[in-house]
């Protein structure tokens, strides 16, 4: 299983792997927002938590269809399905590799980009913490969507439509953590909900992903 993870990370970081895509998208979005809404600090401070979280969510969405589609096209998924590894573990490792190449770098770079949006410095640690806690759910839910649409040509649109509603709870609680962090009020409740969503998706969705892949391989 570690072999699958290292292979996916290696593929993501080599030429054409799409490792930088999500980060570049996030960077572009966050730098463009001040041009769009105006540079007033008060206004930017107000919308910064939401923008940063929406940006992270869309950046993670961008690379979802690669999770299984490439392996499906070249026959690797067939081979993995007949190999002596459970498909549930394959789904988990694929989601983990996706998180390590999108969610984790996003969480680490987000405070730097928060400065561009005049995010109060009190909120910076909460931004990183909320992204670290919340983005694994985005990858696991996304892997489920990717598993559902794996056999479809140009399944990207359907994938986005399927996955976006499932992303909403994570977005709400994640942005709420950062907003409360900026105001200096208690963040425990939304953070607990965020962690609960992540843990619940981690516990349940790999099974659903594996089942979806089995149906789609037929």
């Amino acid at each position: 299983m570690i072999a699958l993870l290292t292979r996916d990370l290696r593929l993501a970081t080599r030429a054409g792997g799409g490792f930088g895509l999500s980060l570049a998208f996030f960077l572009i979005l966050v730098t463009l927002v001040p041009f769009g809404v105006g540079p007033e600090a008060s206004r930017l401070t107000l919308i910064a938590p939401g923008i940063l979280w929406v940006g992270a969510l869309l950046a993670s969405l961008l690379s979802l269809d690669r999770i299984f589609a490439l392996d499906f096209e070249d026959g690797t998924l067939d081979q993995l399905a007949t190999a002596p590894v459970p498909l549930e573990a394959v789904a988990t490792m694929k989601a983990l590799a996706h998180w390590l190449t999108t969610g984790l770098p996003l969480a680490l770079i987000a405070p730097v980009l928060g400065i561009l949006l005049h995010l109060p410095s009190a909120a910076m640690p909460w931004l990183t913490v909320s992204l670290l806690v919340g983005t694994p759910a985005l990858s696991v839910i996304g892997a489920f969507g990717a598993g559902l649409t794996v056999g479809l040509k140009r399944g990207g649109l359907l994938l986005s439509l399927l996955v976006l509603p499932l992303y909403v709870p994570t977005l709400i609680f994640g942005a709420e953590v950062v907003r409360r962090g900026a105001e200096g009020t208690a963040t425990a409740t939304p953070l607990a909900f965020l962690a609960a969503i992540t843990l619940a998706s981690l516990a349940g969705l790999p099974y659903a992903t594996a089942a979806a892949i089995r149906v789609n391989l037929r």
């Binding site: 699958l4 290696r10 026959g75 081979q79 399905a81 007949t82 190999a83 002596p84 149906v215 037929r218």
Partner: protein
């Protein structure tokens, strides 16, 4: 290791293609599937490999004894030949890749990115996975496509060695691989009958709702 298929009925895309397929392969035997395009060769091979549900019938043993080489080579272009093989070796828990490299004549290419290989070299890399799997039953779907004459002879020799070690091979191919004990199964008589079609159109459970 025997491969036994009893009264198998199969559908593809909701249409019954085969019914009543039965055969038994004993250790050291190879069976070649023949039939026109669309006869259901690939469908049968995928079903035996455990990638496709059956409408009726039994296959034994289970998919964990079976190594499947499909049309697609399942080779990652961004990785080198050795990295591709090392990945599958650790998936199958095989200690080393040297034997597979040697038998498929891939040593000279080991550090070459797989995207720079020719179609035939990629094919050899895909077939090397069979050796890494260590499984006794090989299911081969047109294994010699894009192999040159020399590589075809090489693969025929590997296949003979596999059979001599007590392995079993079931393949769809039109090329003579020079195997000693070989049987041919023509799929034309097993084309699905009206009964098979009735089976196919019967509700097959929750999964069918998505197809």
């Amino acid at each position: 290791m025997d491969l036994t298929v009893t009264d198998l009925a199969l559908a593809r895309g909701g249409m019954a293609v085969l019914s009543g397929v039965s055969f038994r392969l004993q250790a050291c035997q190879a069976l070649i599937l023949r039939g026109p395009n669309g006869a259901g060769k690939t469908t049968l091979l995928r079903a035996i490999a455990g990638l496709q549900p059956t409408l009726a019938g039994q296959i034994s043993p289970g998919a964990d004894q079976i190594a499947y080489a499909a049309h697609a080579d399942a080779v990652k272009g961004a990785l080198t030949v050795a990295e591709n093989l090392c990945f599958w070796a650790s998936v199958y828990g095989t200690p080393g890749i040297e034997r597979a490299l040697e038998e498929m004549h891939l040593q000279g290419l080991r550090d070459r990115p797989a995207q720079n290989l020719s179609a035939g070299q990629k094919r050899r890399l895909g077939l090397a996975r069979l050796l890494l799997s260590g499984r006794p039953i090989w299911i081969l779907d047109e294994p010699t496509v894009s192999l040159d004459a020399e590589s075809t002879v090489l693969f025929g020799r590997i296949l003979r060695d596999h059979l001599a070690r007590g392995g079993v091979a079931l393949m769809a191919t039109h090329i003579d691989l020079g195997l000693p004990d070989i049987a041919v199964l023509d799929l034309a008589p097993f084309r699905a009958t009206a009964q098979g079609i009735a089976l196919a159109t019967a509700p097959a459970g929750f999964d069918e709702a998505f197809l």
